[in-house]
Symmetry: D2
């Protein structure tokens, strides 16, 4: 079947609803509207929920701010704070928390460099704790960070590298930051997803990548991501579906026509798109033109959110003052 590629739980749920015309069994959704953004909390409750939307059991929080693409400093700050709040709610952070921040992705591919850029911008403090033989501090917690690079660059599964470092450094929380793929262009660079499930490669897709989650690492793993690309085949497919829906509405008379289109949809369409797009698949990405700048801006939004949530003595004013 045609595989719509999305890393967002809100979109996976949307897709289910579009096809099945009902809420997803095993999944709970809660929405909170703010002035400049919306927070959606998708909770996958059981294996029914897991199978229905293809996402591991756990909580997926989405902060959506359509204006984030062209944000001024105030909105960026608001998003950093919203991220910090959701993060603190999801995992009980305090000064005794020892966090390892992992920046996933390939720094040589612009839209994939979000994680490494966040790592470059977080306050790391673990070496100070070690140098002064401290175990806690009033104003900051122990933070370390690494951007290991992708398997094509290292020859090693990223999860293995992280497990090795976790065993040597004993953090009690891992936060993994990654660029995501979305189904819809208007979510690209406007949406932050936070989840307590870690990173779980799609089951059954053939690639047997090792998960980066609590089961494997032995400590809780929070995943934070922002969609930076749309899959090309997904974009074409979605566009066509909208067009076909529109055609159905407009041609109420042609019952024959309607059924042929239905037929087409089920049998031929996916094959056709795949054939037609074949030279693209796996090689092409659809990104905003200003991607180089967006990656920079959004890595600061996430890094600042992490900095204020991990270090109680630091507020956003300090961060902006000293760190720009």
């Amino acid at each position: 079947m045609f595989q719509v590629r999305t890393d967002l739980a809100v979109e996976a749920r949307e897709l289910y609803k579009e096809k099945q015309k009902q809420e997803v069994p095993g999944v709970e959704v809660e929405k909170e509207e703010k002035e400049h953004y919306t927070v959606t909390r998708v909770r996958v409750l059981d294996s029914d929920g897991e199978n229905n939307i293809g996402k591991a059991k756990g909580t997926y929080i989405t902060i959506e701010a359509p204006a984030l693409k062209k944000a001024d400093q105030d909105l960026k700050d608001e998003m950093s704070k919203a991220l910090a709040k959701e993060l603190s709610d999801l995992t009980k952070l305090n000064n005794a928390t020892k966090t390892l921040i992992v920046g996933l992705g390939n720094w040589n591919v612009t839209p994939d460099a979000l994680g490494p850029k966040v790592v470059d911008r977080v306050f790391v403090t673990r070496h100070f704790f070690k140098a002064y033989n401290k175990t806690d501090d009033e104003s900051m917690s122990q933070v370390s960070a690494i951007a290991p690079g992708v398997m094509g660059l290292t020859g090693i599964e990223t999860s293995e590298i992280i497990k090795g470092i976790v065993e040597k450094t004993n953090p009690n929380l891992v936060i993994a930051v990654d660029a995501l793929a979305s189904r819809k262009m208007d979510r690209v660079s406007t949406t932050i997803q936070i989840s307590d499930t870690g990173i779980n490669p799609g089951s059954g897709v053939g690639n047997k990548r090792q998960a980066l989650n609590k089961d494997y690492l032995g400590v809780p793993v929070i995943a934070i991501g922002i969609p930076m690309v749309v899959d090309a085949a997904t974009m074409v497919n979605d566009t066509m579906e909208l067009i076909i829906n529109d055609m159905k509405e407009q041609s109420k008379t042609g019952s024959n026509f309607y059924s042929m289109l239905q037929e087409m949809e089920n049998e031929d369409k996916h094959t056709l798109i795949k054939e037609v797009l074949n030279p693209y698949l796996g090689n092409v990405m659809v990104t905003p033109k200003e991607i180089d700048k967006l990656i920079n801006d959004l890595s600061i939004v996430i890094a600042n959110g992490l900095n204020i949530s991990l270090h109680s003595g630091i507020d956003l004013k300090d961060v902006n003052k000293y760190l720009n």
Copy 2:
């Protein structure tokens, strides 16, 4: 009407043939097959030809090498030589030629940085001629080069900047290098277009950008470009058309259906795509994932082609030896 965006004359001609089912009046085409690449020479002969394919009168040479995307050094060298040959045929280069190479595009946007990167890699020699008060040399010609940046960065039309520099430095040839947009993904990063028409912004599209051509600058302008992106709307449109064609073939029986699709094609389709894609238009680009590396590699291919064609005393071996 739906505007297919392409900077390639071979594609503009292809489109005309698809729609009109005939060769383009006022346009002459010649094809030459080589082992690793194909050279197509499209000659727009008169204003009929200009109107039919929307390209200014002149010669457009396309060198297509499907393997260029994953080329080894031998193929890259072959492309540099092919470019040098076509360039020499198109404009009678000799050691008295004084060339200004202009790298168009925005160095802050990865797929648009081709021109500036070529400028970084060409041998400039004009200052040596000036320093030694020479007007010619046995092994090299006078070359200068500039990457002025785009209007959004400078506040000045690029053509005005170049005209100012041409008036001060008096070259007798301008070569403008630019990243192009193609209609088809498989031409991206595999095709070099060389034309003797300069750069002529599309007529009637509303933007009144000043052309960079002989009329304006007073000296011949050669344009060299490689497609690095595909327009998102174009990609969706083309994919749908292929699918519809396929449907027509397969459902010979449904004559009613066929005519409805025809109808749709003419009335609704373009409007629909535009509506559906609206959030994307003007903001989205479709590029190969390895775009950062491709831009680097291809800027070397073009720079080497320029270096060996402009300086008689330099061959590719030297260039690769000293300049990588």
Copy 3:
């Protein structure tokens, strides 16, 4: 004679005073102490002054803030404002001023990239004035900007390029931004020099570079610079001089010794340093280790200073909000 390399008028004057033990004839100096920085205004009044310190007639303003190297956002903002104030005092800016900002230097050499980076960060507005056929505006003035690259990259004297653009675009003010060389490490990245003399290559040094000044361009030229490197030979020479002075003080008894050192100073020392440093000269630079970050930070300080002084409707709060 040993040539101490400095682009700062305050240092050229300092050197004269060290050697001649008197104030410089033909040069007037005024100092203003602020809480976080010092402003020094050196006025070269006549050709006597020009010969004595090797700087063209005109005003050289130096803003020195030792803490700028590790500045928080407040100090950076204060420096942007101080720069804006001095700039406005030096040249009567108003909304009818049409400014061309020129970023000098080579973007491929980290400490030389200050000018190009400033150009990337200034608000350019000229194209809006042109598009709407306006000649003035309540909140902004016409600004264009270009970073032409150095002669080794273009084959053209930078001054020629700028003159061509000035003739085509008719600004009534040119502001040239450049990285400077200082004599002392502690001025590197802590000092901004603003002068109304433009850029005047040292007379008699053998290189006959064209000046970038009012005489050549026909419009006033303001030069803004920050020292980013120290010349290696200068650093060694200055260190030795300090050591010899120290020796003199300590060995009052050895009158013989004293005179030999004097002798050495005048005859052999300069030759020796040059010989010893020969492999370095012209090829080596001394820079702070954090140069990559400093260049970024300081280009923002200058760009912000330009943005608020050129556009009356913009204040620093806006700039920091929208532009970081």
Copy 4:
């Protein structure tokens, strides 16, 4: 005492000889002159040798090619081959060798980015072996690679990170690549040092960094480095010493003078230089102006050397063909 900073064993030995006017006890030296380069093998034999030159027991091979700074492709290839040969001699490489290449250094500081850039350019193969469940191959060996970043970026000792990865991935050889500091400018970017001792932070200097060697990791560690900077204080000190020597020669008559200088040398000089240079120390680096380009070129030389020595089926022609 004044600490001359050098990472090169040949220089440490040179210094000993200059001061003590004799060969270093416990150290063996062997020199081999080639047409374009010299190979020096310094063997530290025992703890006497270790104390005398401050380098751990083991072999330090230096390949010096003065022309490497402006090398054509042939010389670069020759250096890659020389490196490959010395590497193969030092450690018995074969197709069963499982190598982890570690790129040390900070990618945000230009002259410190050598290691990370080498890692970006080596062929990694370990993931292919894993994917196909192979343990050996006729034409290649298992290679993985990582550039972990410096402690200031990660909060973790680099050695700890590497140990974690070694324990998870079980290589039987670690090769650590790093930018070095030299005492003399003419060794910068012209010299490659290869040693079988790993990386051993200077004893007694106060920083208690963990070594990256066989003792700690449990597998042999080869260190490869190229000097990219000279320490500023070292440069001044060495220059002065040369000058003083020159003065001694020239003023044979002044015996009084001679002894005063001797005195100065032993008592005051080092203190003076340190005082004078104080604002610089620890903060300043002396590098070639073309450092950005040199780092690129030399990372390719090392990466190619590693590629041909680790993979028996690959020769330099392939590497240059496919990997530029």
